[in-house]
Amino acid sequence: MTKRTVLYVSHNHPRVRPGGAEAYALELYEAMRESGRFEPLLLARSGKPISKIGRYHEGTLLTGVDGDPNQYFFYSEYSDFDWFLGTTRNREVITRHFADFLAAYRPEVVHFQHTLFIGYEAIRAVRNGLPESAIVYTLHEFLPICHRQGQMLRVGSEEPCSHESPRRCHECFPDIAPQEFFMRKRFIQSHLDLVDRFVAPSRFLRDRYVDWGIPADKIVVEDYGRLPVREGAQPGEPPNRNRIAFFGQLSHYKGIAVLLQAMKRLVERGVDVRLSIHGANLELQPQEFLDEFDSLLGAIEEHVTFAGAYSAEDLPALLARTDYVVVPSIWWENSPLVIQEAFLHRRPVICSDIGGMAEKVADGTNGLHFRAGDPDSLADVVESAVCTPGLWKRLHDGIEGVHPMDEHVERLSELYEDLLERRQGERAGRQATTLGAVPGAVVE
């Protein structure tokens, strides 16, 4: 029997632009190939705004990826993408190009890592073209729920949002009528209804989607799997555990302003602490954010190192010079990959006390929580972290391993097989029903 195929659909390829979820998608693809359980395919959407270049072959949206016959770039026009509904206005992207790709490979399993820049209709195209296939969809953030880039962060107050409703969404976006939000939700859900199983990397994320209307039994909580660290960051024995660091996208949502304000307070209090900021994509941020960033940074320049972008290979070295990793996001987060990175290198994490961060970091065991969005609280927690003798060691020892990729691949493979078996069972059931309905058949 030939190996069954799983198609991974991603909204970006890490070779084009780094990003946590896309890096994970590629690692999963490679690990699945390694495991031999399923034959993996990777279809990574590309084009603007992720990449500088767009489609360059006439008559197809596909190009190959560095000679790997199982990986493709899939170019859809960014200008055709409807951010509100999460669809592409040029439906031929789905009905022709994506459908043709499916027809060529007929994968038994289609596992969406994302439908961003492609469209939720891609799910329906799978169901139409491959009625017997299993459809899996990994939820990374809250894009289907929240029009604000899936952040669930209230516009204006910048408080994390507990739940959507057409009225509440209209409050965040007064120019968009509540009826439009209602239609948006119904529209997106009509496509997500066709998914057999969702994968949520955190319980918190799962709960938000259950609140939103996805049946709880359709979502499995399964954290991102991580490849083993080849070279751990050696802690060394510095006199003070006073080096804190931020890793990640430099965006408003990540709580950079909270961190810088907390640093200012710590400096004012005379606490001996150093902050390194390792962040990418500053150039993509709005001017307002850049201005705030500059003015906050200016006040405490001597105590902060702004190191700019980094790559995965740099991490061991960077973490070797870090005592605590700070994750000050003001939105819920899901299962932040930076927390996994920190734990892989056995660094305690100081994080906001909400959402996926609070779930993944146990306060007082392998890290510390502070009140989300509150610079005073963060300053207090950092002060106690760097000034309490023995605390770093205790938290360091409290870190357990992160979810290993081989286990993750095993779990996903079991999920795929289970879903395919159910599909087969259903088909057999349908056939039996048809037979039973033959006139004159005796049913005992």
Binding site: I94, T95, E121, R124, P166, P178, Q179, M183, S190, H191
Partner: protein, 610 residues
Amino acid sequence: MSAPPPPRQGFEVRSGAWLAADVLLAVVEFDLRHATDMSVPAMIDGSPVPTEARSAWLSRSEDDGAGRALFAVRASPPGSSRIELTFGSGPTTALPGPASAGTLKVDLRTLVREHLARLDARTRTRITTFLLEFSDAIGSRVDPLGLSESLTLMRDALRDPHPRIGPGSEGPTALRIDELVRVDERFFFVRGWTHDEQAPIVRLSAVSPEGSRVELLEHMARVPRPDTDRLFPLSGPESRGFVCSLPLDAPSRLTRGWIFELENAAGSVVEVEAPEPIDGIHAARGAIVSTLERERSPLSPVTEHVLPAVARLQERLAAMVEIEHVARFGEAPRSPDVSIVIPLYKRIDLLQHQLAQFASDPELSEAELIYVLDSPELSASALAESERLFELYRVPFRIATLSQNGGFAVANNRGASLATGRLLLLLNSDVLPAGSGWLSGLAGLHDATPRVGALGPKLLFEDDTLQHAGLYFRRSVALGAWENAHYFKGLHHTLPAANVPRPVPAVTAACLLIDRALYSELDGLRAVYIQGDYEDSDLCLRLGQAGYENWYRPEIALYHLEGRSYATAERQDNARYNAWLQTSLWGERIERLMSDEPGYEAGIMAADRT
């Protein structure tokens, strides 16, 4: 000028000219002793052709048996070089046809000057009347504009001209035509004002370019024109303004040449030239409906002029709209029980939302789904979009594109004309189902209800409050008319009173199920209302009159994502027109209905709370 020689053999054509490419005007001399038959057979280029003719005496003398008559003859086909006419039993007269070089014998201007202009006033009036009758009954097949132009020429030659006045004129009499509106060829509408400091006005006449006259003074509606007060500081406030509908006895097609005449008791007559009529259905409708702005009651005299004018416009609009094209996506169900008609206006993006929901309900693939595109300008994109949407959602449907925007009633009626189902569901494009099974549910409720007319389900806003739980009529003091209102609008859908199935005065056409034969019997929705308002209540009132009951059924609920409509001045005018038209058509019946309606008080209270 010497007397013409007597006619040979009883008839002689003295002069002839073409009124239009296919209409001949001839002055014919008779010897009454020979002339018995007034028919006019004609040969064109040697072949007999059908003619239609009218004649009028210009003069006749029993003493010497001489008579003179004016003949207007339409002979087709035109474009011929030679026409032979036989007047009665007289000899055939050969005349150059309209296509031959030069004009026939004399041009029309000469004919009028030599034979008609010097006749007495009564005869001249009679000639004008004769020409209008001809234009009304026969007219020109191929050149109606040419006929109109000829009639204007004749009107000006036969009419006694009066001093022309204009905005800058001195004198005791002022007459201003603010707007002349063309409803159709035979119906105009005018708004203006008059003032006479010399003597009371005894006559105000409209004269169409073709010569039709309408006397306004007796039946026009006077309206205040405070804006003119400063022009006449010495006279007190009076109703100088007027509006008036102008039904014509013959079609009028020209944009220039309308004249209004005003005569006062001192015998002074003045005239003004009216501005070019406002044409185009939407512009005309807007101009007429806006005259209601100052009115406070549907019983006002202005209404009597506005309602028939707008109703005529709406009918004209409706008659112009045809299904231009029908595109089918997917295989139609073979014998659908229910046909669903959904007008699409402007927001074709709603199609994807409905289809995405319909896709999960197998019943919708069994129904006959007919979208009616009432924004024909979006046709190309709608069809391209539909093709992709069908590939994705696989619910079969048709899209009928209308030749032009026709409004809610027309769109539904045209859609219904394609329907083959036993039942007809009128559905708005912003209605989304709450789940599956609703369609058969509605049909089942319909079939279980004896004498059912229209049946409407519960409709919800996006926050699960009530958008529709039946319609009733509410007396608006401000409007002085019955307005449509929704029971319990804005209250939570679990409200017990809103969950009682019951007959109601009316249900909304946003989602209305009716027996298709019954719908056809009543000719569907009436197009006399403007902008998708009141067509449903009007249908329900007609159903009630015919002995049917309209039912609200809360067992089935759908979402109606009715948007907020912005209260533009035009919308307010239209709403007033609709309410007044409905009240003038149905006032008594509504009064009776509402006094019997047990939920009336509750409805009022609920509506007032929201």
